[in-house]
Amino acid sequence: MADINMENFAVPDFVPERYVKELARSCVGGEELQQQKVKIEGLAEETASALKRNVYENYMQFIETATEISHLEAEMYKLSHLLSDQRTVLTNLSQASILGNDNTLSPESIDNHDLEAERAEEERKNKLNLITEKVEGCMNLLDISDRILLHEGDLLEIDAEENTALQRMHVYLFNDCLMLTCWISNRRGPMRYKFLTSYPISTIAVVNVRDLGTVKQAFKVLAFPDTRVFQCNSLAIKKDWLDKFESAKKMHIEKETSNQKKKESQEKVKAEMLESPSLSVEELPSPQIATLPDWLADVIEELDVLIVERHFQKTYDLMTSAQKTLTTEDFIKHPQRTDILKKIDQKQKALTEILLKELDVTQNWSPRGGLRSSRYPIQILNKFNMTSQACELFLDICSQTVKAHVKGVQLEGSILSYVKQVGDVFFCSLSDALTEFTMLFPKNKISSFVVWASLQLRILMSQIVKQIFTPQCALETLLNCVQSLRDQCTLFCEFGLDFRFQLNSYLRTPIKRALQEYRDKIVDSMKAKVTEDKWTPVNMHTKAGTNRFLIQMTDMGINLTKYVINETWIDLSSSTIWFTQSVMTVQNIGIKIVTEEMMDVVDICIFAIFNARLELSAGSDSSYSQKNFTFLLEVLIPLMLRLYKEEVGYDNETLLGLAKEYGVSVAPPKKSNITKYTSNEYL
């Protein structure tokens, strides 16, 4: 008999028919064949599920990759932003250094520091290049750095004197000139038009032709000594052209006036410069004083470069060494000393500003960098005695990190696993922040961390409380969630910070509310349950069902084995069972979920539920209902009192009072009490 496994099917030359034939030949009898079939089917199922799993995993990976890519994209965007910032700085610097020269960069290109403008610039160049490719003998369109295309289109040129058609033209209107081209009749290649002429925008005047005999939809371009008349295909096109000419004219005028202003201001600057000759290094040194070493003379420029290159640590080092050197005996009387020191001070201010900006979460900060990325700026700021600001900014960063991490937890599956994960993530982030904090800041700053951390806890708890304390959430789930949070909080105590009290205080009100809501729910449905009860034993239908029920009840702390009759019947009415389950749940969970000082809430709940039930007394006249009532009084109450005492160590006084009121003699817990409910005395 052939062994059935994957390899048989995975061979490249697998032929189903042959395989089946071989299988049939090797098998003896139908039964064996059946077995083989089952095996193959099992294999198929396995493969299918494996495939499904694979698909799912791939899918998840795909999603993860996609999010990663989008993060990366955001990072890249920020990077390019930074780069363009730097570019501006560099252009400014280069401008400053070639003062007096008419800089090669037009004012526009400096303004275009953001990405948008850069893209527009690229587009502009592409457009112009495209035109150059289309027009034969085209002038160099890119020679003017800010030339843009405003409008283009086909027009028919008309003889200005005789009103007859001259030629078809393709006309380009740029912001600074008008270019006329005509169609190439037998064109080959990409050239479509032939360059005719161009007029600077400042030399042309456009006239709307209202009336030119038979010629309609025309306009005139006066470009002395030429007068050119163009006819458009429609009034709309003509209007478009006229509007575009108008805007070109406006742009031109604006540019002209701004140029004029600039010229004036430049002249002013020049005049000022002439008035106050610059105090350059070469002019001043007096012979008797030692000249500054090169590095010290250039220290300001060097600092600029270092800052721009983001070598902050080096900047700091250079700054301090320069300051130190300048305070030594050799230079104490140097004429440039105060000047350089003052400039260093300015640079220091600039540096701290940059560092503060670096740490500012509101300015393009990314959580992906982690806390370590802020280490160097903070260390330098600390050295500048700016610990407080650094601390504040660092904690802001921590807040953002915590927020980002908590946000990253997906609400998938049960609420419990979510709460567990959030708790994990939160306390891990806290501990990360704490380790980093203790490393970066002196001990006296730790108080601000404590304040910060408790604030974070408050934020987290306000979120979690909203998510878990909902009417749909079962009491037991609540307990689990609360316990998992408490466990994690206890673990965090190892770091030396105990937030348990705070955690509990945030949980206090919602827990109280949850218990009260549960109580109200039970009390509300109590009457209906009791009056609708048929007062007969409950049928569990199967033995297994009975067992399951018994185990469930034993888990709660009550053994009902003695109440089983005929294997599948429970000798208690449905409302009694329901009541027993409800009230035991309240006690069991209530005791665990509340903190010691809140026990009264649980006591009141238990009391209220019991009281509501007991006030209904038997609920019916039947003897069976009486029997159930007795069960409640004489079995359930003593049991609960005993469990309560076992759990918390003292008596539930309120319930005890209620029991006494109903004449239940509650003897101090003895072993005999346990046998009481297991006896069949009430049967």
Partner: protein
Amino acid sequence: MSKKPAAAPTLHKVIMVGSGGVGKSALTLQFMYDEFVEDYEPTKADSYRKKVVLDGEEVQIDILDTAGQEDYAAIRDNYFRSGEGFLCVFSITEPESFDATQEFREQILRVKNDDNIPFLLVGNKSDLADKRRVPLDVCRERAAAWHVPYVETSAKTRDNVDKVFFDLMREIRSRKSDDGRATNGDVRGKKRRKIKCAIL
């Protein structure tokens, strides 16, 4: 393609100048279409052409109606360059527009670089005599100083509308024939002077 024997008649290019709202377009439209337009809409730069009979000869007049609001002098230059004769219009009810004619005159002379360019000073809105704020003798004084004719018109009543256009065309025509002759002899200045005097 346009080799018709009866080629297009002579073209005289006239330019309307003056401040905004003095009635340049109203005059033009009255001359072109015999209609008076009440509503005012600022002109950018419009051109019109019409065939007219000037002293028995068929000619074409090309009127460029400029924008009184054009505040950028360099652009105005471009318009003025194409003109052969100018109607410098002001409103007799608006002294500011009269003052502005001085500037227009100077600009035209500078652009055309010709002191004897065909030019008429036109006081419009003569129908609003009760609102007159520019005295007649002041207008005449200025015209005399410039050695140009002064005419008062009303675009509303069509008073003197044809006259200003035809007078200007005559001046342009005589200038052109002068220029034609000037290429032969050096009689230019004398001749022109004579014509001026005749009109005055």
